[in-house]
Structures are given as C-alpha cells and as structure tokens.
C-alpha cells in the first residue's frame, strides 16, 4: 500500500512538473522571442545566439546552426601526433644540415633562445632520413613515409608554423584551444558549437586516442571550456565498451532505462524552469544522447564488419587500440555525420634518451604505424566522396630542433632532437583546401621561418574559414566579453583556400 501511495504521489508530481513546465513556457517563449530580437544587439555572435540559454533551439543545444558563409568543409578529422614529430625527418628537407652534422651549433642561433633540454652548445644533427620529391606538386617527403608519397598531390603543407610554447602540455592546449592556459574550449567544441552535429544519435565531437597514453595536457585538449559542456569531445575506446558505462547494467532493460530518463528529464526540466541554467539543458540533452548512443555508438565503433580489403588498406586489426583502427573509425564516424573527430597518437617525443625515442629507431616505428593508416584514410575518404567536405589536418604541438639534444650538456646515447616552437610542419587535405600547395619556408637548417610564417591562430582561422566561419565572428559571451578561438589574432592563410 505504501508503495502504491508513493507511486501515485510520484505520478502527481510528474503531472505537476509538466504543467508547471508548460506554464513556464508561456513566459519562456516571450523571453526567447525577445532574446532573438535583441540578438543582434550583443556583438557578432553566431546568429545572435548567446549560448544555449537564449537560443531558440534551447532543448536541442547540438542542433546544427548556420555558418557565416557557405564553406566547403562540413567535418574535420584532426590527426594530432602527441609529443611533436620531427619535421626534419618527414617533410622539411635540409641538405645543408647534412653538411653541418656533428659540428657545434653556432652561438648566434642560441642567443636569446630557451630550450626545454638543450644546455650549453649542442651539435647539429643531420636529417636521419632520405628525401625525394613526389607528385606533380613536387612535395618533399622522406623515406619514412613510403605510402604517404602516393597522396602527395592531395595534401598541402604549412612548412613554417610557429607556436610560443615549448612544453607539451601548454603547447597542446595552445594547438587545440588557442590558449596555453586551461579553460578555453577546444577547436572541436567551437566547431560543434558553430555547426552542431548531423547525426542526432551520435555525439558531434568524438575523440580517439592511441599510443598508450592520453596527451600531456589531459582531457582539457578536447574540453569545452566555457562553452556548454554538451560541446565537449566524447572519448571513445576501440576495445571493450566504446564509451565507458554505455551498456545497461545487469537487471536493467531498455524500457526501464527509457522510463528512468523520462523521469530524470522531467525533474531536470523543472529545474531549468526555475533556475534557467543552460547546463541543465546540456544534462537533459546528454541523457537523451546517451540513450540513443547505446545503440548507435557500438554499431559505428564496430569495425569487424568492414570488408577484408579495407582492413588491408588501413592495416587494421579489430579489437586492438591502434592509430590504424582509429583512422578507420574516423572515416566511419564522419560518414555517419559526426562533425569533428580528434585523433591523438602518443609517442612522438624523439629526444633520443632511449631506443624508443631515437630518430633512427623508435621514431621509425611510429612513422610505420601512421604511414599506411593516414594514407588509407585520405584514399578511403576520397573514394567515398567524403574528402571534398572533410578537412583532414595532421601535425604536432611544435617541431624539433636542428641540433642534437644534449640533455644536461652531455652527449646522448641516441639521435634525438629537442622541442622547437619556431618552425614546424602541418599538413591539411580535403575540405576545400587547395591541393599540392606548400606555404612557408624555413632557413637552410630548418631553424627559423624565412617565408610564410604561420601562427597557430592562423591555422585555426583557416580551419574555421573552410567550415564557413569568419573566425572573428564565431564568438561566445563569457565573463562579460565575447571570446573567440583566435583571441585577437589569426589571419586566414589565403594560399591554401
């Protein structure tokens, strides 16, 4: 009897909250209308929307919004090589550095510079790879990426990107959030905030990691910062449950789950009616999303059903955590309408302290691990007609020095290079990027930019441009001022578009 009474009481409460919610809506609709009328009055926000609270689509915060102009790119796959791969062994060919090999570095290069580990006077280190030009564009690619040479003409290189951070954590944050300090939204969050997701059963921003470690900067590199947390990256795993706790626990079936989510949703809506906190809407949306994801995510994350020749193309082995598997997953996710897929591959910090970080040993293994999959990714996107609207970006958080690392002013056991923020290589392909362009040039030893110096903000501005956004106008009001990914800097790299 007690139980029954409790149920009646609950049902009553349910009814009251709904009615209550509807009542609130009457006032709410007016406010929404006012909000959109005043929308234009608060700086150039996307469609005048001030975060989720005032958006007309308040109950579906990840609904697609509108780009400022019709960009070619609809989705992004960002391949981040965490640890920072050496541009001097992959794309930035410096024959002069060969001649200087093992000579002491001239003082003029060291003056006023700070290095993470180099102390005293290091020796120069010649390229630990051989280079050739490939394709009609004549792009320089080293022998460590033999498969990649096949797509040389699909890709455009930024050869003189610079950052202002020489430690992994801050540099990764800068590369992904436009700021070296914690607290800013990642580029994936900005893009999902701007464009929403196409597939309503999948998150708009998915993160996949490989290499056995998450990036130094932690999960903040795919965090949503001050944007509503619905825009943060959802990390998926390639073995076990793709998303932690996604399957129903024992004794809980899908109907029960539905009822539970309905009840929680009703309570949350009442909360929202009272407090108007956009995070409550995020929470409602996330419960709904999680429910839909229970079916959709395991399906899209399952690569077992891919034909054998696709596995051969990518070099994938189902059930393993690998960069190859993640590349194939990235293609599947984009095909299913996911907006931003972020891959992190750990293990590129080639200091030469051990065999695994030696440029002639461990580094080569890393190159082999990515060469086939990333080439396969471009080819597979292309044959499915997805490359036209998918922007693929590859790069690290900084580059590496032309000098051999001499940690604590001692010779190192293996060939390695220190962190170098002044000039490194990023490539982009698809999504409206011109093909076969090389923008920027470094000096004859690859130490500084001499032409086309490109900042991290410029890279971001260009990515947003390709997606149809004026990076100066994609803003979010926070702490009394509009924030943007590129802060107060950034220029679209015209040579690429």
């Amino acid at each position: 009897m007690d139980k029954l009474l409790k149920e009646v009481q609950e049902a009553e409460l349910k009814a009251v909250t709904r009615r209550h919610f509807l009542l609130e809506c009457v006032a709410g609709v007016g406010t929404l209308a006012l909000g959109s009328m005043l929308g234009g009055c608060f700086g150039g926000n996307t469609g005048g929307k001030q975060g989720v609270g005032l958006s007309a689509d308040a109950l579906n915060p990840i609904a697609p919004r509108l780009p400022h102009f019709p960009g070619r790119a609809k989705s992004v796959i960002y391949l981040h090589m965490a640890g920072a791969p050496s541009q001097l062994e992959l794309f930035d060919y410096k024959p002069e550095l060969h001649k200087l090999h093992n000579q002491l570095c001239p003082q003029s290069l060291l003056e006023g510079k700070k290095f993470a580990f180099i102390r005293g006077t290091p020796k120069m280190l010649g390229p630990q790879a051989t280079f050739r030009q490939y394709g009609e564009s004549g792009a320089w690619i080293s022998n460590l990426l033999p498969h990649f040479t096949k797509v040389a003409d699909e890709v455009s290189f930024l050869k003189a990107v610079h950052t202002d951070q020489f430690n992994h954590g801050p540099a990764q944050l800068f590369m992904h959030t436009g700021n070296a300090r914690l607290g800013r939204p990642s580029i994936g969050s900005w893009v999902t905030y701007g464009l929403g997701t196409e597939n309503s059963n999948l998150p708009g921003f998915v993160v996949l990691t490989s290499g056995g470690k998450t990036p130094d900067a932690g999960k903040s590199v795919w965090g949503s910062g001050f944007l509503p947390s619905v825009y943060q990256g959802v990390q998926c795993r390639s073995h076990g449950d793709p998303v932690l706790y996604i399957s129903d626990p024992d004794g809980m079936n899908r109907d029960m789950k539905r009822k539970a989510i309905d009840a929680i949703g009703a309570v949350n809506r009442e909360e929202y009616a009272t407090y108007k906190d956009p995070e409550i809407l995020t929470r409602i949306a996330q419960y709904e999303m999680a429910y839909k994801m229970q079916v959709a995510v395991p399906e899209v994350m399952n690569i077992n059903n891919e034909p054998e020749y696709i596995h051969e193309l990518y070099g994938t082995q189902p059930g393993k955590e690998s960069f190859a598997n993640n590349c194939l997953l990235a293609r599947k996710l984009v095909e299913q309408g996911v907006r931003f897929v972020q891959l992190f591959d750990w293990g590129w910090d080639s200091h030469g302290t051990g065999a695994d970080t030696a440029l002639d040993l461990g580094f080569r293994n890393k190159c082999r691990e990515i060469d086939r999959p990333m080439t396969a990714l471009l080819l597979d996107l292309k044959q499915r007609g997805l490359l036209d609207e998918t922007l693929v970006v590859w790069g690290g958080e900084f580059g590496r020095t032309p000098m051999q690392e001499n940690r604590d002013n001692k010779d190192m056991p293996f060939a390695g290079r220190d962190h170098h923020p002044d000039a490194y290589t990023i490539w982009m392909a698809g999504g409206g990027v011109k093909k076969g362009v090389t923008w920027g040039e470094t000096d004859e030893i690859g130490f500084s930019a001499v032409k086309g110096s490109t900042s991290v903000h410029d890279v971001h501005a260009t990515m947003l441009h390709l997606l149809g956004f004026d990076h100066e106008k994609l803003t979010y009001e926070f702490q009394g001022r509009p924030f943007r990914l590129t802060d107060v800097e950034g220029n679209v790299i015209q040579a690429l578009i």
Partner: protein, 478 residues
C-alpha cells in the same frame, strides 16, 4: 626650464583620472537636487551644497590639469577646443551652482535675484558636463567611438545606414577612393584620422596620406616594400611597430594585398580598377568586394557562391523536420537549403513529394543509404539550385540518373555503391558545372569513363578501389 615642462605635463597627465570625479559628484548633486524637490526627500537638501562644493573644486582641478595636458599637443584642434571650453564652462557654472545652493551667509546677497532659477542653472551645468564629457571621449577614443558599435537593428531605428563595404561594379570602381580609402577608414582612422593623428600621421585624405607622418613618407608610389605603411602592416605579429597594434581589429591579408597592389601601381589618386593591371592573385579579392566580403571571405574555391533567391515555405520545411530530416540553410542570410536524410534512413519514394515543395531551394541533397528508387529522382530537373547530390548506397540505376538533365548547377554527384552503368554516365556529359563524380562500387567500366572524360574535361571522376601494396618496410620493426 626643462624640468618645469615635465612637471606641468606630469600634472596634465592626471587629467583623465581627475576628470571623472566632478562628473560623478556634480551628477550626484543634480540627483540630490531633483529628489529634494519631492516632499518625501526634502531632508536631502542640505547635502546638495557640500556635494556641489567638492564637485566644483574637482571640476576646477580637472580643468587646470586638462589645460596642461592639452599643451602636449597631438589632439584634433577643433574637438579639443570644444572639449576645453565646454569643460571650463561646466567648471565655472558648477562654482556658480555651489554659490546658489550654499546657505545664505549674508542677508543681502547679490545672487538672490537668480536664486529661484538655481535648479535651471544646475541642469544647464549637467548638460555642459555631458557635452564636455562626450568630446573628451571623442578625443581619446576617436570620432564615432560611441556609435560605431551600435547594432544594425538600432542603427536602422535611427535611420542610419550601416557601413557596408560593397561595390556595385568593381571594374568601374576608383582604386583609391572606393577600395583603399574604405580599408584605411575601417582599420586605421580611429588613430590616424581627422580626429586624432598618432605619430602625426593622418590617412583620411589623399594628401594627408601622401604627406606621411613622424616616420617620414608613408607611401612611396610604385615601391611597395619601400613604403613605410606597407612595412608596418607586414611586420611580424608581436612587433611593437606593427599596425594595427595588438588588441585592435587586425587588417586582413586581402586588404594588405589590395593596398600593396595600389602602391605598386604607383598609388594613383583617381585611376579606376579597370585602368590598372590586375595580377591573377588580385582578381578574386577584387571580385569578393562585389559580394561585400572585404574581410576576405568569398571568391575562391573554399567558399561556394550562392545567389539571392526567395525563401522556401516554412510549413514545407516543418514537414521534413517532423520526419527527422535535417533541413538547414547553407549559410546565414542564404535561402538555399541543405537537406540530409541521415536520421531518416526509411526515406522512400513516397517522401519525394516533401522534397518537391522545396525544389527551388535545395542546394545539397543527401539521400545516401535510404530506400529511394529511381522514382524519387523523377522531377529532379525542377531542382535548379542543386549543387550536390548524394545517392550512395541506394538502388538508383541509369534511369534515375537520366532525370539529372537540367540540373545545370550540379557540382558534385555521389553514386558510390549504386546500380549505375556506363549508360548512365552519358547523361553526365551534359551537366555544365559538374566537377566531381564518385563511382566506387558501381558497374561502370574504364571505357565508359574514358568517353565521359573526353566530353567533360574539367570533371574529376573517382572510381576508388584503392590499394596500398605491401612494402618490405611495412614489416621492419626497429
């Protein structure tokens, strides 16, 4: 004496700090006076005089420091004199106000005749204060500072036109007056304009621009690299001398290119665009000016061009939305639509009526993986705006493709994993704008493709089926 001069300027530099005191104080006095006229607040009356005293004293100090600051020069003369005299008047009238509100000391008072008018005098003082304050703001922040950020809807309310930077016909436009000057106005003239000339440089007239400033000539006609203006615009980010300075809206790459182009052409005062040589890299930038995208957005392959067309009916859109079909405009302010059935894989031929209602507006149609057959494509020729059509993983055959005739804007066609054969490809050679066709997992043959390539040379055809042969290096582990 040298020292003396420094001291005076130092005192003058206190002006921006001091000036806010009288504004607050004198306003407070006005509020008190206003309130004390009501019966309930008469008790406030005694506070008026002391507030006025402090306000007037600080106003006098502000006036003196302001005068000292003005000696350092660098301000627009006209605005400065307005600000100066309004400020001094406000200070003097505030002293008068204090005298009027002060409790009478003597019985006979020369001011008694106008004492009745004291509230009017006080109001006048506040008005002067507002005007002086506004001109002060104009001096430091530049002309139009207050109104430049006014939102467009509000501007319209006042009947002001927004500063749009578009050209009707770029070929007929004057290079300096219609292109270079508006850029300078947009990005430079808040500091180098009629109201304020930092570094003694003004850019608002042709003569002033040519004259240059403190650092000498700004423009060397014909010599882009030798022109100080160009050098300042292209210094590395973070350089102290780079313009616009950090924190101001940066000038765009395209805008710099336009200025460089004009300087290289000899910085003519009145030549038209069509009279100058136009290098290839300048042409898309010039074209972009016609669409109002001087910020450097349109006019290239990464941005799709769309004309203005009438909007689609909302009730038709709603019907699609109700089925779970995504319908989104291609961009802000555009009426062309992207339609995507990714969340409604059950889409079948019965649903085609829904699409027909939007025939004039659909620019991108994604029906990949749905239940459609050739029948859905029957009225495709009505889709005049169609640029992208995704039919992958459907049972579409050559018959369906035949209906594409008339889709003259179609740029992208995805037929991956469909029943299309060489026969269907023949239709495609008649589509003038078609640039991408995806034919992976179809029955087309190399011969069929070869004959299509012959007739449509700009077309990129992809049949996929890529393989990456195993290399010996694939298995070497270091």
């Amino acid at each position: 004496m040298e020292n003396n001069g420094d001291l005076l300027l130092f005192l003058g530099k206190w002006h921006p700090l001091l000036v806010h005191l009288p504004i607050g104080m004198l306003f407070m006095a006005f509020v008190l006076a206003l309130l004390s006229r009501k019966k309930a607040y008469t008790s406030l009356a005694p506070a008026i005089a002391p507030t006025l005293l402090f306000g007037a004293a600080s106003a006098v100090l502000a006036s003196i420091s302001g005068y000292l600051l003005s000696l350092s020069g660098g301000y627009n003369v006209r605005t400065l004199s307005l600000h100066q005299w309004m400020g001094i008047s406000a200070a003097l009238v505030s002293v008068l106000c204090w005298l009027l509100y002060r409790p009478a000391v003597r019985t006979k008072d020369i001011l008694s005749p106008i004492r009745k008018l004291r509230f009017a005098v006080l109001s006048l003082m506040v008005a002067l204060l507002c005007i002086a304050g506004h001109f002060g703001g104009t001096l430091t922040h530049g002309d139009g500072y207050l109104t430049e950020a006014m939102p467009t809807p509000m501007r319209k309310l006042f009947g002001w036109q927004p500063d749009v930077f578009t050209l009707e016909n770029v070929q007929e436009a004057a290079v300096y007056a219609d292109i270079v000057q508006p850029i300078l106005q947009q990005r430079c003239q808040s500091c180098h304009g009629p109201k304020k000339q930092e570094g003694e440089l003004a850019l608002h007239t042709f003569n002033a621009l040519m004259e240059g400033g403190e650092s000498g000539q700004a423009i060397v006609a014909g010599d882009t690299v030798g022109s100080e203006l160009f050098r300042r615009l292209t210094l590395p980010a973070g350089d102290e001398d780079r313009m616009p300075p950090k924190g101001r809206t940066p000038i765009t790459d395209d805008q710099i290119r336009l200025i460089a182009w004009w300087i290289a052409a000899g910085a003519p005062a009145d030549k038209l665009v069509k009279e100058l040589a136009r290098p290839e890299e300048i042409q898309p930038i010039l074209l972009a000016l016609e669409s109002g995208n001087a910020g450097g957005a349109a006019g290239d392959g990464s941005v799709v061009a769309y004309e203005d067309i009438p909007p689609a009916k909302q009730e038709v859109i709603n019907k699609l939305l109700a089925k779970g079909i995504k319908v989104v405009p291609v961009a802000e302010g555009k009426n062309q639509l992207m339609v995507n059935a990714i969340n409604y894989p059950a889409f079948n031929d019965d649903d085609r009526e829904l699409l027909l209602g939007l025939a004039a507006n659909i620019a991108e149609l994604k029906l990949g993986g749905t239940q459609i057959t050739d029948a859905t494509l029957e009225h495709l020729e009505q889709f005049a705006e169609l640029r992208q059509l995704n039919l992958e993983n459907t049972t579409i055959t050559d018959e369906g493709i035949a209906h594409l005739k008339g889709c003259d804007k179609l740029w992208y066609l995805n037929l991956v994993n469909t029943q299309v054969t060489d026969e269907g490809l023949k239709t495609l050679s008649d589509l003038p704008e078609l640039r991408r066709v995806y034919l992976y997992q179809t029955k087309v043959t190399t011969e069929g493709i070869a004959s299509l390539v012959q007739t449509a040379q700009e077309l990129e055809i992809d049949t996929g089926n890529y393989r990456l042969p195993a290399l010996p290096s694939d298995t070497i582990v270091y």
